[in-house]
Symmetry: C2
Subunit: 451 residues, 2 copies
């Protein structure tokens, strides 16, 4: 059955007990949610039953919120490693995409290429790699460094890393394996290709020791919105996870990235822009705001300072007057996109440090929307039809409740409006996102061409 | 019910379509076995039903057998990445241990510590890490190097790598998480410990961002039998996978390693020595040898040269007279234990190059035993009761058939002799192997001690 309207895409960004850092104190919150397999099984199954395109796992290879005397008050500390978790979840789901974050700064391309290809085989074509460059000092200190690699350099490394991974994913043509028991030819050597990459950051011969994956290549997701990040996305990414709050900003970002794609010879439909959304659903807008205030009340005030510092790339504002304006801030080597978006927002809205601090504590700087299911749907529809997004990555404030409310109340509303599928369109993540299966770069060669 | 006799341990070493390189041409061999999830699900379930201690996955991050014109004739080319595969298999099994190989030369300790701890949580305490140093040139070329790191240096790095991983696994005491929603204390900061490792090869601050695993620490397995390898095993390992062929050699190795443990203050029971065994079961010994010859007949003769070179650390003998003796060979930077064992064997048995080549092609240099189920059991019993092994890692020549024959015929025979369990003793790999759960190194501190 053909849909009349363009369909929006939905991801469920699963963050232990939810994206609000007070969520773990919710009466319904499962204990040790980040290490609770039953919790993730429930979330994955419910998101699949609701026909979400994907579940999405963030990742940092360190503590998320500093290590001062209040550290014991935060929950963002222990989590499953994403690839092992998604491989497990692949076995209890059938259709939903499985997207995990992996860093280009603290991994090797051969290992990353292999793991996501392996997950793609295990899941029958549902894996996606969210490319990040890792900007925290905590991660640098866990990987033989004294400081974070400079921002531009990190992105140059990321670009080369992605090229190597994509090259390795094409090591084998789709029909390379012959399995000819009678003649003893297991594969066709002409359909095996040695990458032999030698670049500035990496020397990787290849081939990958895993056959071409079900999707041809796992879906490439990218999460940075800085200028370098947008460039990487325009060049390589198929999904972008971003964080614009206003419709105007979202439209400008959307247009900008899609235009940039042309410079790399890519059609704009080959990249789906899916901003993060932090929805609070109530019986009324006032009720939704009450629910948010309840979450806020569970955050110890002292937790706010390291959270704010984290969102400002490591700058500690605790020595400034808390009811005064944001001081001038240097650009750090940290997460420049998030830092830039947040500072712009604070200046435009004339926020005091205290107000900004509550803002990031609550919504992590993402687009927060409050209201009834219909009001939430209105805002998503406006942004989607207004050219600000191809879909949304749902960052439920608390889990599982916040996601289940979205599924039970907002998803039916989006369906009534003809904006969201009733059934999966295909079996792979690519098919559901409407992304073509990439041809193997070597497959057009004349027969007999050597590798 | 208490067993009267000491019990032997069994591992199922799963290698795509079996350990014999001709096995893929067996009429019953599944297609693309290395990438065939149903195949691995069947094997894991059957090994668990037979109460094996563990399934064991080897790993190399490259092709296994060179890249000459005959490469298309070998199957040892494409495989799942082990950690993603085991995480998937964790979901369809309940008791069997899940042991994967990971390299200390081409990974970072933080990543390895995390993945195995995550698998331990996912599986309810069943993960084990087989430590290898990776000796092939192919792997070096996939990881920014022009040549393999020198053997001694590789093991020095491995030793430090293992220390860092074990330190990270103790980042959190078992009872560190409080989950106290009323007071807002998620964990007890006094029970969180920062490793702050600064060594020759690694600088890793920690803590690990995953809570202490079900087994306290995943089981540490070690596969090298060189002098450096034995030293690493005596110091750190809890299971050792080795490859002595004769009873005398096995006894000497067993005694030697267990004696070495004393120097590190370890009780000999804390390390289980489990040699690889390559069993061919027939209705008679002659029938078993016929089955082996059938497998041999499926190997293209040209495949033998690169296989032999691989087992000799990269030395190509194809220019020597094939029916002459083994020439003098230099010690390479490759797998010195395997090279040494093989050269000793060839000299003692006066093998020609052709004979040696058929030997490694067939059994990969491991202990091959041929006969009826009772004869196989006799040999295992002799080696076990004779002080040459604590158990065996079963390297079925072809899969699934070779393992299923062992399960259906040899395992009942071992049970009749009182040598192998009827039921699992516990829920974790440690409990089944009879290994104590290690205490957290920080847990004995006086209350209030800082990290």
């Amino acid at each position: 059955m053909k849909q009349q309207k363009k369909q929006l895409r939905l991801g469920a960004f699963l963050q232990d007990v939810g994206h609000h850092i007070g969520a773990w104190r919710h009466p319904d919150a499962p204990l040790n949610a980040g290490m609770n397999l039953e919790h993730f099984k429930l979330l994955a199954r419910r998101a699949e039953a609701a026909k979400f395109d994907m579940i999405f796992l963030g990742d940092q290879m360190t503590f998320q919120y500093g290590e001062d005397e209040h550290i014991g008050r935060t929950t963002r500390t222990v989590n499953f490693e994403p690839l092992t978790l998604l491989s497990a979840l692949a076995m209890i789901t059938e259709k939903i995409g499985l997207v995990a974050t992996a860093s280009t700064s603290y991994n090797e391309p051969f290992n990353v290429a292999r793991k996501f290809a392996s997950l793609d085989h295990i899941s029958g074509g549902r894996s996606g790699w969210n490319v990040v460059t890792s900007w925290t000092l905590g991660e640098a200190l866990n990987f033989n460094r004294d400081e974070v690699m400079e921002h531009g350099l990190r992105y140059q490394r990321a670009q080369e890393f992605v090229e190597v991974v994509q090259g390795l994913w094409d090591s084998w043509e789709d029909d390379a394996l012959l399995n000819d028991k009678s003649t003893g030819h297991f594969f066709d050597p002409r359909k095996l290709h040695v990458l032999d990459h030698q670049g500035r950051f990496f020397k990787v011969r290849g081939p990958l020791n895993i056959s071409r994956s079900v999707q041809g290549q796992p879906v490439l997701v990218q999460a940075g919105s800085s200028s370098d990040g947008q460039d990487l996305a325009a060049r390589s990414a198929e999904v972008i996870f971003t964080a614009q709050r206003s419709l105007t900003d979202a439209q400008a970002f959307y247009r900008g990235v899609k235009e940039k794609m042309a410079a790399y010879g890519r059609h704009p439909d080959r990249l789906k822009i899916m901003p993060g959304v932090f929805p609070i659903i109530g019986e009324s807008e006032a009720h939704a705001r009450e629910k948010f205030e309840q979450l806020q009340s569970w955050v110890d005030p002292e937790i706010g300072w390291p959270v704010l510092a984290r969102h400002l790339g490591g700058i500690d504002l605790s020595s400034y007057p808390v009811d005064g304006p944001l001081p001038e801030l240097p650009l750090t080597q940290g997460n420049q996109s998030r830092q830039g978006l947040l500072v712009d927002f604070a200046r435009r809205e004339n926020l005091t440090i205290r107000q900004l601090y509550w803002h990031v504590t609550g919504t992590r700087g993402h687009w927060a929307i409050f209201g009834t299911a219909a009001q939430i749907a209105d805002q998503l529809e406006e942004r989607f039809t207004g050219g600000g997004a191809d879909g949304f990555n749902i960052m439920a404030p608390w889990l599982p409740g916040g996601l289940l409310e979205f599924i039970d109340q907002v998803v039916p509303e989006l369906r009534r409006r003809g904006l969201f599928r009733h059934e999966y369109a295909g079996a792979t993540l690519r098919e559901n996102l409407g992304l073509a299966r990439p041809a193997n770069r070597y497959a057009d060669r004349a027969p007999g061409g050597a590798s």
